[in-house]
């Protein structure tokens, strides 16, 4: 089984990104949406948490939420793929189940 984990809060606000990464197994994906997209930014105290997990987990971030928050795509951590809503839908379809970390 391959799960998709969604995270919707900033890692400096809540522990959901950390918890999602801790509970994702090899081959799973994590999609950052809403305020969770701040977790995709380079140069934060939490950026390493994402980069360090990339060997086992695929990371995605929702583009429309980046734009809403004025985050330039150039500031996204290398290796985090930017998707739009249709990409979000595709991720849900491709994975066996989706778990939302609230």
């Amino acid at each position: 089984m391959s799960q998709l984990h969604t995270v919707n809060k900033s890692p400096l606000d809540r522990n959901t990104l950390e918890s999602a990464i801790k509970h994702a197994t090899k081959g799973n994906s994590v999609l950052m949406i809403e305020d969770g997209v701040y977790g995709a930014m380079q140069g934060t105290q939490k950026s390493g948490m994402v980069s360090d997990a990339m060997n086992d987990i695929s990371f995605y971030v929702l583009g429309p939420d980046l734009k809403a928050r004025g985050i330039n795509e150039g500031r996204v951590i290398d290796g985090v793929k930017i998707v739009d809503y249709s990409g979000f839908v595709a991720l849900v379809a491709e994975h066996d189940a989706t778990q939302s970390w609230l």
Binding site: M1, Q3, N15, S19, K22, H23, T25, Q99, S100, L102
Partner: protein
Amino acid sequence: MSETKKFLYVNRKAPYGTIYALESLEVVLIGAAFEQDVALAFLDDGVYQLTKGQTTDEVGMKNFSPTYRALGDYDVNKIYVEQESLDARGLTLDDLQALTYEDEDDDWAEKDSIKVVSAAEMAEIMEQSDVVLSF
């Protein structure tokens, strides 16, 4: 006929400060009638939901913690509690209510519903679930 799916109810929030603990329990109880393969996960602050001695008179809210003890009667007996989450909060199994069920395959012997698991084991349980409901 519908297949049986593995349902996992994920609880990560403390009780009373928000309604999620109570309303998720309501889903579990209703869901029990659908005869699916049900498990509950308590991790992060969700472990606080299961503590003993909740006394709510002075906050004027209903103490719903006795409801967890009824889960066994509803055939909900796979209750996974994360070790790391307990440790981080200075809690042990002794701080939690004893939740039990009667095993019909073992002469109705009373058994513990709570299984303390590591984060890695919890991850595996999540991975194997067909439907994950988060509250």
